[in-house]
């Protein structure tokens, strides 16, 4: 299948040759041994009540209880998030607004590497070289945060953190089968001295929607090594590969026949961390990712051979220093340089190779100015080859009214630098211009204002997070006809502005250890200029969005969970038709069998249990789906 499979025999060998460290009669050494510094500022989550912007954490327990097999679906639990399937393998998620097949205004990272694709202008959710079981938690910043994460963090940031290799020793085998889904995963992990290693293999077969030509097979391989050089110094190496042949149709253009596409993505990443103390560290990371798409077909009416294949690459180096110069001040600063490259004869025309170099300097501070008041400030200066220099500031004040109640007021400004596809696009069809580079596009900008309340009710083991916000977005980049009559060619241009006002709420409770509930609700109203169409942005999000996840652990290791999602009406992506409100209920029931050195989990998952879910796209008929999941782990 791919070269990375060679890791498998190596790991089985390591597994069988490493000896147990178990010895008799431990004595004084246990007290004197230097342990590696593990929970440093890089790993710790800042408490909700101290963070500058509203944040939602999707933890491993929620991921397991969800029954979802697609990573993007987990974002349904985040208030204000819209998740859309344009086809069985084109998926998008965005915050506050989603008006196209791809979500261009979200920053998404895995272990600190940005996977926002410069050519795709979105996130290739089905080409990720990780599996859902690799994830430790997902931190979602609901609001712009370019001051910390750079441009493209316009509406929000999704940060996926995968599991450390030391957490996954042993062997895991998992299979999900039922309905249109068949997938299998294997993971093996081991410790050798100061090194923890793990490798994951995965295969997915998804038949897509019933009435679409959109099935896919996906092969995933990833590997991680965590080396603890000294108690204070660690090096992490990660690499991964995703190979996915897919069927593709086009529901809008009957001249495009059913055809096959083939995506391949891979990455390598090295992270070096030196912890001077629990509050000071230096971290350097370098990563490279590449994505290839092979896609060609014969246009039916013109018999033209169309090759829409493209290749994109990203190389990124970042250095970060976090310190606590005084008792009341925490400071992070850093520099980075990124080079994005794109190659496509179809999209970039006569100049098919383009690149963009981005240099960054950033700093973020948390200043405990009073015992109960924190000022969070952030600033990022970016210099890029497309739009020049951009400055993204952010400031917030969090005040603890009591030990359990906090209010937050924040302001931030962020930009989204136009992607290479938007800036340099040059598509001809049959010798005639189809999409042209009109030049002089400005970055999209947002100014966001937020007032939040975070309450913690220890007697009920509950948390409440409320947020009222107003965002003002300027220069939204849209693909529009060059002339007012709607004739060809098209071009990307700053056409619309939008103002979004809304309210969000999350309520988490765990009254007893065996019961947990996560409720989220969002209400928003978009007022957009919609110059070429009255509903393009205004209806690009539902007015009301709700999710509920209930988890219960019964005696004898039985467990059950239920997810409920409600979304009021919003426009269909890529058209202007309004789709009805929809409710979706999923359920998972299972039992864990515990052996002396193994655990086996058997679960039944029913998705869309009421069978009345209407997808965002009319053709995407989504029936009730049932699948069986078996997962076994042994030492």
């Amino acid at each position: 299948m791919c070269r990375s499979w060679f890791f498998l025999p190596l790991f089985f060998t390591l597994l069988t040759t490493t000896a147990s460290a178990y010895s008799q009669d431990p004595g004084e050494d246990a007290f004197h041994d230097e342990l590696p510094v593990v929970l440093t500022a890089t790993r710790l989550v800042q408490p909700q009540r101290d963070v500058p912007v509203a944040t939602t954490i999707i933890d491993r327990e929620m991921i397991a209880a969800s029954g979802f097999t697609e990573i993007v679906d987990l974002l349904r639990y985040v208030p204000g998030f819209i998740v859309n399937y344009d086809s069985g393998h084109i998926k998008a998620a965005s915050y506050q607004m989603l008006n196209e097949r791809y979500a261009r205004r979200m920053q998404v990272m895995i272990d600190g590497r940005s996977i926002y694709s410069p050519s795709y202008l979105g996130v290739p959710w089905t080409s990720l070289p990780i599996t859902i079981d690799d994830i430790e938690r997902i931190e979602v910043i609901r609001g712009p945060n370019a001051a910390s994460f750079g441009s493209n963090s316009l509406l929000g940031v999704v940060s996926i953190i995968t599991r450390h290799a030391s957490q996954e020793h042993g062997v895991m085998l998992k299979a999900n089968t039922g309905g249109n889904l068949h997938e299998g995963f294997a993971r093996i992990g081991e410790n050798i001295g100061d090194m923890d290693l793990k490798a994951t293999l995965g295969y997915q077969q998804d038949d897509g929607f019933e009435e679409r030509y959109d099935s896919r097979q996906t092969e995933i391989v990833n590997f991680r090594a965590d080396y603890q050089a000294t108690a204070n110094q660690s090096i992490t190496f990660l690499t991964g590969y995703n190979n996915s042949p897919r069927q593709e149709d086009n529901v809008f253009d009957s001249d495009i026949p059913h055809h096959m596409t083939h995506t391949t993505s891979r990455f390598q990443q090295v992270i070096w961390t030196h912890n001077f103390s629990t509050t000071e560290y230096v971290k350097a990371q370098f990563y490279q990712l590449t994505e290839d798409l092979r896609k060609s077909f014969v246009h039916i009416s013109t018999s033209l051979d169309i090759d829409q294949g493209h290749r994109s690459e990203r190389s990124d180096f970042e250095l970060e220093h976090s310190l606590q110069p005084t008792e009341d001040l925490q400071l992070v600063w850093g520099v980075s340089q990124r080079i994005d490259r794109m190659n496509s004869t179809y999209y970039l025309g006569s100049n098919p190779e383009r690149s963009n170099r981005i240099k960054r300097v950033f700093t973020n501070l948390a200043w405990y100015i009073l015992p109960d008041t924190i000022i969070n400030g952030g600033l990022m200066l970016e210099d890029n080859g497309i739009s020049g220099s951009e400055l993204s500031p952010r400031i917030s004040v969090n005040h603890h009214l009591t030990s359990t109640d906090t209010v937050r007021v924040s302001y931030s400004k962020a930009s989204r630098i136009q992607g290479m596809l938007e800036e340099y696009t040059d598509i001809t069809f049959g010798g005639a211009p189809y999409v042209i580079d009109a030049g002089d596009i400005l970055p999209e900008t947002i100014r966001a204002y937020e007032i939040g309340y975070i309450g913690y009710f220890p007697q009920y083991r509950s948390n409440l997070d409320l947020k009222i916000y107003h965002s003002n977005i300027r220069n939204l980049i849209t693909l529009e006809p060059v002339d007012a009559d709607g004739n060809l060619p098209y071009h990307f241009d700053n056409v619309d502005d939008a103002r979004i006002t809304g309210f969000e709420m999350t309520f988490s409770t765990r009254p007893i250890k065996s019961l947990r509930a996560e409720l989220s609700y969002a209400h928003s109203k978009i007022r957009a200029t919609d110059i070429y169409n009255t509903t393009k942005y205004s209806n690009s999000a539902p007015d009301n969005n709700l999710s509920l996840l209930l988890m219960y652990y019964f005696p004898q290791n039985y467990f059950a969970s239920t997810s409920v999602f409600y979304q009021s009406q919003m426009k269909e992506l890529a058209t202007e038709d309004l789709r009805n409100s929809k409710t979706r209920i999923n359920m998972k029931l299972g039992k864990t069998f515990k052996g002396s050195n193994n655990n086996t989990e058997v679960a039944l998952v029913v998705k869309n249990i009421t069978n009345d879910f209407e997808n965002t796209r009319l053709e995407n008929v989504y029936d009730r789906q049932t699948y069986l999941s078996i997962k076994t782990e042994f030492n």
């Binding site: 593990v38 909700q48 220890p458």
Partner: protein, 324 residues
């Protein structure tokens, strides 16, 4: 005549007084010259620090010298003189290697074992032939008494329901003690028995559904460089804070640790050696350290805010001789 008699009596009284002073001072001088021997396992940071602190405390309290040896030095000295140790008024034995080196040595002086956990001290006292006489041997343990750990945990987490503790399945004494203490606190103790070959990281993950806090009891088979990372990460990701047993553990990511530093152990040992200098040949039964510290990891504490009620004022229960 009367004057002569008076002068004669004065001379006799003066002479008797002089003799008494001479006898007394020579006895005192003999006692002062008998120093205490300190047998260290290795010449490493912990032992050197212990020796230094012990010397300091003894210097200030007893103005008494200390003679420091390592097992090889002692063995050489014993080759030359099998009664070599008897010239000292007592012997402090620090660490396993030092204690092991004494197993075939015969001496009549009192012995204090230290820098060892309770079960190791008991083992040496039970097996060393020199300790068969009651009061001849004592010790200051390196670990904390379980009751103290549970009391501090109770104060730190007033609202938790379940406290998880990992114990080796063969450690019957700890299991029995914890079972007997289970009803004395507001929380229930969830004992997870660890067998050889168990995946401790996976066990840590499993307790997430049942326990609120994990109390780590020092055991190198459970907590070591190899497992600490996975345990800390799994516990943290399940919002389960860990209470550690060493300074290193709290630095690694435990919410707080309860431990006795080598300085604090030295303070306690010096209380016992003072008794030896005062001429008491009988030592008390081995003891848990009187002096201990509670150290909090501020970053972890901050990160867990809003997830669990934690009373960080527990540091006031730290006990050190310096503050007495």
């Amino acid at each position: 005549m009367h004057q002569l008699l008076k002068n004669g009596l004065f001379s006799i009284r003066f002479s008797l007084s002089l003799i008494f002073i001479l006898i007394f001072s020579s006895a005192y001088a003999e006692s002062e010259n008998r120093s205490i021997a300190l047998l260290l396992s290795k010449n490493t940071k912990h032992y050197s620090q212990f020796a230094e602190k012990l010397s300091q405390h003894n210097g200030s309290q007893n103005n008494a010298p200390f003679s420091i040896f390592y097992p090889d030095d002692l063995s050489q000295s014993l080759k030359n003189n099998s009664k070599y140790l008897d010239q000292f008024s007592g012997l402090v034995v620090a660490g396993d290697i030092a204690a092991d080196s004494l197993s075939n040595v015969s001496t009549n002086i009192p012995i204090i074992f230290t820098l060892l956990p309770d079960h190791r001290v008991q083992h040496y006292i039970n097996t060393n032939p020199n300790c068969q006489i009651k009061g001849r041997c004592s010790g200051v343990f390196l670990n904390q008494p379980l009751k103290r750990l549970l009391q501090i945990t109770n104060k730190a987490f007033p609202s938790i329901n379940t406290l998880a503790i990992f114990v080796e399945s063969g450690d019957k004494k700890t299991i029995h003690t914890l079972e007997s203490l289970n009803n004395q606190f507001k929380f229930n103790i969830l004992l997870k028995l660890i067998n050889e070959g168990d995946n401790i990281v996976s066990t840590t993950h499993d307790i997430g559904h049942h326990a609120d806090v994990l109390l780590a009891i020092a055991n190198k088979n459970i907590y070591n460089r190899k497992t600490a990372k996975g345990i800390l990460l799994s516990a943290y990701n399940n919002n389960i804070p860990i209470i550690g047993y060493s300074r290193s553990f709290v630095k690694a990511g435990a919410l707080f640790s309860i431990f006795s530093s080598t300085t604090q152990i030295a303070e306690h040992v010096s209380d016992l050696t003072t008794q030896l200098y005062k001429g008491s040949g009988t030592l008390p039964a081995p003891e848990y350290p009187k002096y201990f510290s509670i150290q909090i990891n501020r970053a972890v504490k901050q990160s867990l805010e809003g997830k669990l009620v934690f009373d960080s004022s527990i540091t006031k229960y730290s006990k050190s001789k310096r503050y007495e």
